[in-house]
Amino acid sequence: MLRIAWSTLRVRWPSFAGTFVALALGAALTAALGQVLVSSVSSPGRAPQRYAAVPVVVAPDERMAVRSRLGESTAPLAEPRGLAAGLVARLPGAVVDRVFPARLAGGPPAVGRPWSAARTAPQPLVAGRAPAADSEIVVTGGARVGARARVVTAAGARAYRVVGLAAPGPQPTVFFTDERAARLSPRIDALALWRPVAEVRAVLGEAAATGAATEGTGWSGTPPDTAPAGGASHAAANGPVRDGGAGGPVVSERVRVLTGAERALLDPFHEADEEARDNASTIAGIAAGFAAFVAVFVVSSTFAFAVGQRRREFALLRTLGATARQIRRMVYGEALLVAVTAAALGALTGPLATGPILRLLASLGMAPAWLRPATGAAPALVAFGAGVLVAVLGVALAARRAGRVRPAEALREAAVEPRVMTPGRWLAGGGLLAAAVGSMLVNAVTDPAGATNNKTFMPVVMLLIAGVGLLAPVFVGPAARLLAVPLGRARGAGGLVVTAGAMASTRRTAATAAPVLVTVALAATLLGGAALTDATKAAMRTAPVRADHLVLPTGAAGLDRQLVERLRAVPGAEVTTTTRTSLYTLEGEGTQLIRRPAEAVDPAGLTTVLSIPVSAGSLAGLRDDTIAVSPTWELGLGERVRLWRADGSPVALTVVALLGADAPADSYVTPAHAGAALPSAAYVTPRPGAPAAGLGEALERAAEGHNARAVTRAAWATEVADGGASAGRLGALAVLAIMLGYTVIAMVNTLLMAAPDRAGEHGALRLLGATRPQLLRYVVGEALLVVAVGVLLSAVATALGLLGLYAALLQLSGPVPFDVPWEPVAGVIVLCGVLAVAAVVVPATRVRAAAIPR
């Protein structure tokens, strides 16, 4: 039978080329995205930058450890604690490094550091000289030597003289004299040492004996068991080392000695890098999942179509004495022949696209540019195996169908297809649809916040599309009739020929409409979903704000203290600041230390400038010993909860309010728990009785030169709503860009596969006197009708998907107006239409009047 399969393959090559292309591309796409995924996970991080020129760096171990019921639970600290000052004396020759927010007014986000730490990267002077006085600085850019520049630090803005220009390091930096830097930021962030590491460790060992510091064994090591049961690691004897008396800063009692590649852990973008890496792998994972889904969808529908095209051939073989088993084996044989070669080709060539895809993602800001393409063979092997498996699974149904072809069919000129909707197909399609709708309902009711998560939403979208795709033949007839109404009004045979053609072969129409369905539904659902989610998130952020004016920092550094004072000094202004901080709780029945985001707000302003939805209790009760939490904390009113602040200091607070599900924050505390963090926003309302006019201008004047801006609530709300391109939307776009290429090819593929079948029919039309332009019109009309059917089907899938999402979001934020991204969706539809027309017109122009149908 393999021989027959091989011979058939040579003649039936358009069909096989179609499945070959679909499978090879599917395998290639899966292999490429798999390789992207592996790259994003395994790519080595960037080499050390800030401390590239220092052999040994001593840094605080910025983790907090808490004794939990299951041993110790640790979490990275949100707010660094710094090194004990005593260490400096024990390590002579060490360069004391401090890193703190300091930025030229109007300049790019930057950090401030002491000048002696310029050696660590190194960042040598390229012009001018080193700073020698308190009022002198060296910058890496943004100001000329000799110029006066305002520098904004946590304390406020102050003018300095730029005396030198240093080489650009890993990030824009303002260098102060060491003394000035120590005053601006007393915290010691690192000690840079040009000494053998063993010596450093020996010194630290002594320091540990005196209680000044203990050395942890790095990120992965087991920290010494210093924590008293159930308390924070710095709670008791070995507890917080307070530098210079009770009022001094909390410092870390554990240090790490970093050498070699480990020094990169201290780089400014290290955390951001890891986050970017995580983002990239999430997107690659989602894209790979979609690629596999689309490949299964396209490959199985092309196989089903290719087998359907050859019913007569199978019937003939049956009359010649082929058993059903033999037919099935033949179909499997062909599928394997195609699958093995196509999957191998795809798996081999796919990984070549890894580099370009990484670059595409990097250019969209979805992946860090430093990711290097991995070279392992695993994704290719997986793609190959999956490709063959998909082909075999895809052909299983088709083979069963082929085996059921009755021999007598060869003798009938069967123009009418057998029933397309088998009970199995009804069951599968209905089941998938029901599962999709069901899970959407369950999500919307039980976990509205989770339903908007891409990881929850995307599988639902896949189920919806697959379900509608399976049920497509049911809708082809009605949809074609509906769309044909305007066509039928037209004079001539056109309308009749076009609709009759589309409806006579439901299977072909459904198979061709399937890629259109996937393409358009994916585009509309993902983009619409992202727009809807963005709109809801924006509404959740803006809705509770009642203040007329906001003052926001232009960077990540926050509002400096001087600015806040200036704002408070504006006549008639009632100012409330909010500060983003973190709280740590022991969750999972006291086993897991969890970091939760929190907002620190002045309780007086909390109820006037903001209207936070509360489901129980009242925010009016918020004091330094109370807290308002979201329902996800699973706490009751009046319950006392043990917490740790961002710097690791323990505190116990009583729950006074439970926030509504649509609250913009996870918890609210008073500024007493915010530590040294700077406010992320200031809300300003006119004092009762004070004139509102001129307040905006006064705020703008106050914010000038402080890297902050004053906006009205209305302007801010518009800004947030238009902020648009969220990570979710960009991710959806990246996934789409990759998918569209595939589904569009699949659509052209199916149309080209169908072309030989139609050649006879078209020849007959020509014989009946249809002119060439008439024929082309029919062909184009039919192609557009098929695309329209696909669009109609995708509208059903999209409407269902977005309705489900809307139902979930409704509970988070109430009704939210959102812009359907019509333009990209319309673009996708037009693209489908143009390609479909091209794919049918090219073969149809070859039909000659002389081509008598066989």
């Binding site: 027959i4 040579r10 003649v11």
Partner: protein, 242 residues
């Protein structure tokens, strides 16, 4: 003594959906080494008769016995095997696989049976239909008459007990039709092959030993060794009476 029947239809009735009765209680036998033509107007049930007799279609009622086996007792697989080994079939539209050469087409039933085709046997079969030198050609490279002769060679390769032919000359011109009919006649005379042929062409039917007339799913008599004129006259009566 009367030779035993190779194919026997006993009270065969075949209904289709929508109340169409293609065969209505038909009983007929085909003796070994005989050449029977089944004639009738369009829709008379002659193709259904052939398909039921060949095991391609199952009767709604009645029995079909081929080569001593009752088809009703055979499952799909056994029926397929019987068809493969004991029944040959020739179609109006030749139905050669376009991707295979003449020799490969002829050998196909043997391959389907899992037997290694004997090259000499294939050559002889092709020689028997006068196409020894066309073995390596594909269907598209041959005339209609040649294609039909390849189809006949294919049908005979398994040495079937009976050869069914459904309008074998329907797609051929007069000259090539004659070649094909001559070939069938020679098979009956020279090798005692049993042939049952459905046709609506009186000239084609005149090559048969016996012509059976069918109308409305019933048998309306038969003629022995008739001339084409006799058959044509009978057909005219039949069509007028319908």
């Amino acid at each position: 003594m009367k030779p035993p029947h190779v194919v026997d239809l006993i009270s065969v009735t075949r209904h289709y959906a929508h109340g169409v009765t293609a065969l209505d209680d038909v009983s007929i036998g085909f003796g070994a080494g005989t050449f029977t033509a089944v004639m009738g107007p369009s829709g008379s049930g002659k193709s259904t008769l052939l398909q039921c007799a060949a095991g391609l279609d199952r009767p709604s009622a009645g029995r079909v016995v081929v080569d001593g086996r009752d088809l009703a007792e055979l499952g799909d697989r056994r029926l397929t095997l019987l068809r493969r080994d004991r029944i040959g079939f020739v179609f109006q539209s030749f139905n050669l696989l376009p991707s295979l050469t003449a020799a490969q087409n002829v050998a196909l039933p043997l391959r389907l049976a899992g037997r290694r085709p004997d090259a000499r046997q294939v050559r002889q079969s092709l020689a028997a239909v006068g196409l020894a030198e066309r073995a390596g050609h594909r269907p598209a490279e041959m005339s209609g008459g040649q294609q039909q002769r390849v189809a006949i060679a294919r049908a005979l390769i398994t040495r079937p007990a009976v050869l069914f032919a459904d309008e074998p000359t329907g797609a051929l011109d007069a000259g090539t039709s004659r070649e094909v009919l001559r070939l069938l006649r020679d098979l009956v005379d020279g090798q005692a092959q049993t042939v049952v042929m459905v046709t609506h062409d009186p000239v084609a039917a005149s090559y048969a030993d016996r012509v059976v007339f069918l109308a409305d799913g019933r048998i309306y008599g038969e003629l022995r060794d008739p001339s084409a004129e006799e058959i044509a006259t009978r057909m005219l009566h039949l069509e007028a009476s319908c």
